[in-house]
């Protein structure tokens, strides 16, 4: 295990202030990065192999290179609308290292040629937003933001605003409905201008890449999944929390070694490797290495890097209903399959819970998930359909058993 990069000395008292952060070498990379040309910086980011930490896992350097080199207004938006159930790494990072984010934004804005930046933070994180605002005042006073107006924009509670185009609409002051793609934000994003959108963790990694150089950063982690990743482990584990790991370690080590595994006497029923929208894996799939490609091979995804452990004291139907209800609540209602499909799934699951379900309902539900996947405007519909679909596929006997027992209770 290499030394932590983001988490190094993270609990040092006063790290939130500019003074302590600077004493620890903070903002040193700004001058180094600004001295590089845009192309050099983008190249460095590209060879570092840094992939977006927000969920999609797209190469950060490539994304920055897509922005046209015109003189028009360009924007950098930091996606701090961390709402994926099970994810809380950005909150931790922003609470403790607000200046590192600002430093990352300044460097990334240079890489993208952006002349205006926004941090879109979810409205629930009021304390974190206050911390960021305070840091922003310090940074502004210190002159770091002279050429880059940076505004912390607080959301007001909508999961869909974590989707990049939904976030842009919300930031423009509209309802946070996702937009059609193409055009992609890199061409027509915020206020119709080219826009680079990155997750908090991605942006905070940027100064470290500048410090280490892209090549040496690429040496950490697994092939095609370079670097370290902060993983949020929650649910039925003994030590829930954020852990910075080198990508590619065995999931078992992460869950049992770092987070302590499920409570005494319990076993893992299934687990979400990348937030609630990733297809679930069973306890037999604990040895899959924790990196982008291995997870994809196992039929799931790293997503935002949030592991949720469900132990065998829970019923898969209850978790499925919780999940489906969440997505129904958060569906923006713009496109038909997501709006109606999430609603339908919840209704069927509720009926199963009330004892009126039949095995045919499972087939219908599975087919509804199939009909959602790939037909929606954004990924929210898929985010429900994939885990629910995988639950029905992997836990059909449990579903049927549950229906049977419920029918008896109801009778």
């Amino acid at each position: 295990m290499t030394d932590p990069i983001l988490f190094k000395d993270i609990d040092e008292p006063g790290l939130r202030t500019l003074e302590v952060y600077r004493r620890r070498g903070g903002y040193d990379m700004v001058s180094k990065a600004l001295a590089m040309t845009r192309d050099e910086l983008v190249h460095d980011l590209e060879i570092s192999g840094l992939r977006g930490r927000g969920g999609a896992g797209f190469s950060m350097g490539k994304k920055a290179s897509f922005l046209p080199k015109t003189t028009m207004d360009k924007y950098l938006v930091c996606n701090a609308d961390e709402s994926e159930p099970g994810t809380f790494k950005d909150r931790e990072l922003m609470t403790k290292l607000p200046h590192m984010l600002i430093e990352g934004i300044i460097i990334a804005a240079h890489a993208a040629g952006a002349n205006r930046a926004f941090i879109y933070i979810r409205g629930e994180y009021q304390e974190v937003a206050d911390i960021l605002d305070a840091a922003l005042v310090e940074a502004r006073d210190a002159g770091y933001l002279d050429n880059l107006p940076l505004v912390v924009h607080r959301g007001a509670g909508a999961y869909i605003c974590g989707e990049e185009t939904g976030l842009l609409d919300s930031l423009e002051g509209k309802r946070g409905n996702p937009r059609l793609k193409p055009p992609f934000p890199a061409n027509q994003g915020l206020y119709q201008g080219p826009t680079l959108i990155n997750n908090v963790e991605t942006l905070m990694t940027v100064p470290h890449i500048v410090r280490m150089g892209g090549e040496s950063y690429a040496k950490i982690g697994a092939a095609n999944s370079t670097g370290t990743k902060v993983v949020s482990v929650s649910g039925n584990v003994q030590r829930p929390g954020n852990y910075e790991i080198e990508l590619g370690i065995a999931s078992r080590e992460l869950i049992y070694g770092l987070a302590g595994g499920p409570p005494e006497g319990r076993e893992i029923l299934f687990w979400f490797p990348g937030g609630s929208s990733s297809p679930v894996l069973t306890k037999d799939e604990l040895d899959v290495p924790y990196d982008f490609d291995s997870m994809a091979k196992a039929g799931s995804m790293i997503g935002s890097g949030a592991i949720i452990i469900v132990d065998d004291s829970n019923s898969v139907v209850d978790v499925a209903l919780k999940l489906a209800s969440f997505y129904r609540h958060e569906s923006c209602g713009k496109c038909t399959p997501c709006r109606e499909g999430t609603n339908w799934t919840v209704k069927v699951l509720e009926r199963i819970q009330s004892g009126l379900g039949t095995p045919m309902d499972l087939d219908i539900m599975a087919s509804v998930q199939d009909r959602i996947i790939g037909n929606c405007l954004c990924v929210l519909g898929d985010s429900m359909a994939m885990p629910i679909g995988s639950m029905i596929e992997k836990f059909r006997p449990q579903f049927e058993e549950y229906m049977e027992s419920r029918r008896e209770v109801a009778a």
Partner: protein, 205 residues
């Protein structure tokens, strides 16, 4: 025995769906400054937000949040005032306000307690915690809501009390939270999220 299937979510009808337009009202156009008085401080706050963005409409959420802070919820009058300052129709703002969970378009109590009831928290007893809160606090005084993931699964089950994250909260601590709010004390000072160290043992190198 017949089991009642819930007709619609939460067993109730969706707010708004049964509402007709009141034909005696005038159409809601952009409020005219001449006939819409706006409190000076509210106007100043909204205008400051508007100045932050290239397009003043971006200030919709901050403006609505300001209205909510001032009036307790997004009152129709408050929305009209914000609309007047922003030169938008009130319908624009109400469309935005109803989209977001944290903006209230119906009257609510002064203290807000959001209990996260999403997967991670509910695996650790959040549903029982929410029930305990609902039993302990009355609706006139507390706006107690089960909320979607609040992004603090490490302290599950948790609650956001007037914006302050506390957790893990046990059911026994609920009366204390309620009492602290009533008396204006700090809520569970030892359990504030911002004071917690990182769980990662490698971080303290």
């Amino acid at each position: 025995m017949s089991i009642e299937v819930r007709r619609y979510e939460h067993g109730s009808r969706v707010p708004g769906w049964d509402e007709a337009a009141d034909l005696s009202k005038d159409p809601a156009q952009v409020p005219d400054p001449a006939t819409t008085p706006v409190p000076e401080d509210l106007r100043a706050e909204i205008e400051a937000h508007m100045a932050n963005y290239p397009d003043h409409r971006s200030a919709a959420i901050p403006a609505l949040a300001a209205v909510q802070r001032r009036y307790g919820w997004c009152t129709p009058e408050g929305i009209e005032q914000a609309a007047c300052v922003m030169r938008l129709t009130p319908a624009y703002l109400v469309a935005v306000a109803t989209f977001y969970d944290m903006l209230e378009t119906r009257p609510v109590a002064r203290h807000t307690i959001y209990v996260c009831t999403n997967i991670s928290c509910s695996l650790r007893g959040a549903d029982e915690l929410l029930a305990a809160f609902k039993d302990a606090g009355d609706e006139q005084e507390f706006n107690i809501r089960g909320f979607e993931c609040l992004g603090a699964c490490d302290i599950a089950p948790m609650a956001s009390v007037n914006g302050v994250y506390v957790g893990p909260v046990t059911r026994d601590e609920v009366p204390e939270v309620i009492a602290a709010l009533r008396q204006g004390r700090e809520v569970l000072p030892d359990k504030h999220l911002v004071k917690r160290p990182v769980a990662d043992p490698n971080a303290q190198t």
